[in-house]
Symmetry: none
Subunit: 429 residues, 2 copies
């Protein structure tokens, strides 16, 4: 039963309000108490009674339902049990939902933006442009390709190029302006050691703000995720070279009896070097040297949220998101491996490594508001949006630009760097 | 500036910001913002010839692709901002793209292929290159942008351009080689009627194989999915103009007590005009005029698989996939809205409109084999792969190139056509 989750708005928006009927709407929604939609049903029941007078059916769900006068506007953020509704033989009501477009929920904190007379961008699209700010607005003019072993692995901003030119035995600039690790550095170990030496000096000189957050944790540098590593560097330095960074994020969710579908969010500790105090997905971690993707997910789930092994057995791989962000620290062509983890309603994560301030169970409808606030870690939004899309909360009914939004959660990072030959949309053989 | 939209990822992906930096090329890029492609491409072509002598390559993009013999640059389906590039002071670097175009996958779609000592491509990556064959290997050199109301909505292959030039009151070619619908055709109705007239003639002349499959079902032509339609044309003709096509696909699945997780596949009727007799996802349909996304999903589910409404209550929106395929019929920049539908183990779909030969419930493990065979409809693979990834069957453990594969299921179709200004990754603000 827990799997037979449906989505009301679909039927409604299509005109299949017959499932909800009119006077018998309430009846069709008297679901078993075991279902989280019970609370929905109660509000539905109440609202239905108001609407029954003019014979309209309506949508409702957990959480907020938007009703207007005799017409029903809805926004389905919840689910319901089709086995209960499905057997209804109720007559179809006319579909005068006359939706005040279901974007009503979009009209608060972030404003829509109209560009050149095009349809306004939704808040989600605005957000996608925000976490892809380098993809859209990056100042490439002042960047140089960064190559290792003849393959481009990143780009360097002018200030980094300038600093790198002080180390001609480590970095070599050719006549075209491309920066390479010096070809005399032939092994992974040599390259890693030399770059670490440079970075340590830069850190001492306080040359780059990102190095204040030195992690003593290294990222591998590769041409592609499946390629052999060419060198490693401290995690805090990766954004100086625009090298692709990989991480793992876990969406922890619960079908809560009162709150409905809800996500566990963490507020990052104020002591964290990056995004202190911001809301984040339940578990997140960078993919550092020596750990596989799944290893990292399990390790972080234990460290950050104290999730016991028997619950982690539910961990499910759900793909990845890719985006290209820029901040004062540098360039972030990021790929996050995404996992979903359904948790029992009575489980509460707690932090054991000091990296999390608090955890909060947030109904999906509230997540869809909080995600737009400055209190939400921008680079965590893609994973959250991906969850909301995969689970149907953001769909073609409430987001007219759904396919474009989905593309912006998966921009072609693996094809950005031209010298990574085998990965180019035109094969370089 | 609003029209001089750039596409930095393309530049990045080739390092073209630098490639463009020769004085010749740089000059050529300081073009009028209103028509970046015009002088850019023509001068690129000219400059390319000069540059080839010393082994330099060049930038180019849609339309004209600049190909040369041994050295090739390149394929960009995007555009870039001349105002940005034009100011580049960087020298031109060598372009060692030296492409043997990535057609290796065509020779054997199932085995892994090693390229230049890179890790072998997985079977899934081979498949992703197959259904993205135009994205990787498209012969843009012979294509022209197709514009309506000043916005690019597609590209036309040479043979279509040739045929279109016979109708100067319908299609207008400017000095840059771009084809526009004649500006005297001011309304949706006028444009639709005139293009229908042309297409009907082409059909009678048997000019294009795709028109044999005339559907009497129209697709809308828009700059973006959420934009107002500019005209409509018969579905079979969309691929002649390379206009984006949208469809809906439903993954019907069952957690079967004996077979485990299984997908319902349909074998298409032998009478279908396209992909007859091939295996396909349970339900699929194009998004034709007058039907919303959800409407289409529900309509097709009923027509193709006779799925009753009470089961459709389970239908769940799960996002979309985007890919760019080419066949003898034409160009297919396709976006499929994806739905998942869990079905009871004892439910068996049956066809009611004659479009399906048989349905078969196939365990996921077998789906993951069948998908590689020539018996599987190539353009249905993205939706199937997306399902397998979202549900964890393809993951970072069994697919080292998972993030790259995921990106290839969501290529930036909405940013391919440079004249659709608001949709470009370079912000037009």
């Amino acid at each position: 039963m827990s799997e037979s989750i449906g989505r009301f708005e679909m039927l409604l928006s299509r005109g299949e309000a017959h499932l909800l009927g009119t006077s018998e709407v309430g009846l069709s929604l008297t679901t078993p108490a075991s279902r989280p939609e019970v609370s929905v049903n109660s509000s539905f029941q109440r609202d239905a009674n108001n609407l029954l007078e003019d014979g309209n059916g309506l949508e409702c769900h957990s959480p907020p339902l938007c009703l207007t006068e005799s017409k029903v506007t809805f926004l389905s953020l919840g689910a319901f049990s089709p086995s209960n509704i499905g057997h209804s033989k109720l007559p179809c009501t006319q579909l005068s939902f006359g939706l005040q477009p279901a974007r009503t929920f979009c009209e608060n904190s972030c404003t829509s933006v109209a560009i050149n007379g095009e349809p306004p961008m939704s808040k989600f699209m605005n957000l996608a442009r925000k976490f892809n700010c380098f993809y859209f607005n990056g100042d490439l003019q002042r960047c140089r390709p960064f190559l290792v072993c003849g393959k481009q692995v990143g780009v360097m901003q002018a200030k980094v190029v300038e600093a790198a030119c002080r180390y001609p035995d480590v970095f070599q600039m050719d006549s075209s302006g491309m920066i390479s690790m010096h070809p005399s550095l032939k092994t992974y170990e040599e390259r890693s050691a030399r770059i670490n030496h440079v970075l340590t000096q830069w850190k001492e000189e306080r040359l780059f703000v990102t190095l204040k957050g030195w992690r003593n944790e290294c990222y591998e540098v590769r041409t592609g995720f499946a390629d052999p590593p060419l060198l490693k560097m401290d995690r805090s330095a990766a954004c100086l070279f625009g090298v692709r960074q990989y991480g793992v994020e876990i969406n922890g969710y619960t079908r809560h009896p009162q709150l409905g579908m809800s996500l566990w969010l963490q507020r990052r500790a104020l002591t964290k070097p990056t995004w202190p105090g911001k809301w984040d997905n339940m578990v997140a971690g960078g993919l550092s040297v020596g750990h596989s993707v799944l290893d990292t997910a399990l390790k972080e789930a234990e460290e950050e949220a104290s999730i016991p092994a028997y619950l982690l057995a539910n961990l499910r791989s759900a793909g990845s998101v890719s985006f290209y962000f820029e901040s004062e620290r540098g360039l972030f062509p990021n790929t996050e491996f995404v996992y979903d983890l359904e948790l029992p309603a009575d489980f509460v994560p707690h932090n054991s490594d000091g990296e999390v301030d608090i955890f909060e169970l947030v109904p999906v409808s509230q997540v869809m508001e909080r995600i737009f606030t400055p209190e939400y870690k921008t680079t965590s939004c893609p994973t959250t949006l991906d969850f909301l899309i995969r689970h149907g909360f953001i769909n073609s009914d409430n987001e007219p630009r759904l396919p474009e939004l989905v593309e912006l959660l998966h921009i072609p990072l693996h094809y950005l760097y031209s010298q990574s030959s085998s990965q180019s949309p035109i094969s370089p053989n």
